[in-house]
Structure formats: C-alpha cells, structure tokens
Amino acid sequence: MIRVQREDFDVGAELAGFAADRRDVGGIASFIGLVRDDGGDITAMTLEHYPGMTERQLASIEAEARRRWPLLDCLLIHRFGRLVPGDRIVLVATAATHRAAALESCQFLIDWLKTRAPFWKLEETSSGSTWVAAKDTDDATAERWRE
C-alpha cells in the first residue's frame, strides 16, 4: 500500500495493522526516516512533491521490490509539507515468510525511494532557505541494487 500525505502517522498503529490479517508472515522489517538537524542550524524542512508522479513512482518501486523478493505485503508512507527536526518523513514496512526477504527489500525500497521518488527539500536555517541538492552518494547507494 502507498500513501502520500501531509499528516503524521502513528508507527505503532501502522505496524500493528500491517499484514495483520495474514497467517503466513514470518517477519516484518521496517524503516522510519526522520528530519535531521544537520549542523545544528536547521529550523524546518519543507518537502515539495509532484502529485500524481509521486504515487506512480512509488508504485513502480513497490512493484520492483515485489518482483525481486517474495513479499507478502508492503507499506510505503511518505509525508510532504513543512516538517521540523525530529518529525517523521517516511515509513517503509515489508512482510515476508523469512527475514532475509523482509530486511533486504526494506533497504532496497528506501534506497530506491531516495533517488526515484519526486520529492525536493527546502531547508530553513537562521540564514534563510535553501534547496537541498541531491547527493551523489545516494545515487551510488541505489546503484548497488542494479541487476
């Protein structure tokens, strides 16, 4: 399931409800991304996205994960709008029969999401607002999943 939303999400409730109707799940892996105050001067971060394309790209990333691993369920929640350090941005959860598929696909999803989902970040500091540039290291991290 894919959700792109402005509101926060309740991690406990999301994970408790995730794949809860199944009896064949052996393990659930999850990742929670937070707004980080890099350098101690970030007051807020505004995430802009491309409505429509975001959902389409997230669906294609989920489909790719399901093609590579035998996933029983998959959850992607990504927030947009103005967030402050400590706020949750993203939740990725994967359910599989065995731990390897759940853990590996969860890492794959977050790595690919960073380089493919159309989000941009405007960082606010005491000296003004700047758009965050994409990192080459993120591309390199995603690249290692190339088949």
Partner: protein
C-alpha cells in the same frame, strides 16, 4: 502542452504550472528547453545548467532527447531527494 516546474526551477521561472503552445518545429524535450530559454531571463536562468535539470513526460522520467506530442505533461525539476 502542460508544463510543470518544481523546487528552484519554479522559483526561477516564477510559476509552477502553465499551458503553452510551442512553435512548430519543437518536437523533443531538447527543442522545448531551447525555446523556453528565449522566453525571459527567469527561464534562461532555470535552464542555464542542464546537468541540474531532470525531466518527466507524462509522469515518467525521460532523457532530454525524448520526443514530445501535443497534450503531453512535461515537468522540469532538480535531481530528487526523497526519503530522509
């Protein structure tokens, strides 16, 4: 044709979205960008360094030599930074 601009490209062009009728002869993303650059200093600045610009046609990533058709939705934006 519908054009969309995101992040600092929107700041430079001054608009997030516009409907345009490109002149005849504009049949690819490259040609569209070349024409847009002639429309004002904001556009010229937005497309000054194409290494910093990504393009999507109908919500799928494309290369700059991708063909265009009337009615396409073309989006311009910086490299994406999703996640955390």
């Amino acid at each position: 044709m519908k054009l969309l601009y995101f992040a600092w490209l929107r700041t430079k062009t001054g608009i997030g979205e516009e409907d345009i009728q490109p002149p005849e002869g504009v049949t690819s993303v490259n040609e569209l960008i070349a024409w847009l650059k002639t429309r004002g200093t904001g556009y010229a600045e937005a497309f000054a360094d194409l290494a910093l610009v990504r393009v999507a046609v109908n919500q799928e990533y494309v290369r700059s030599d991708a063909p265009l058709a009337p009615g396409d939705e073309v989006a311009f934006f910086p490299p994406v930074t999703g996640g955390l």
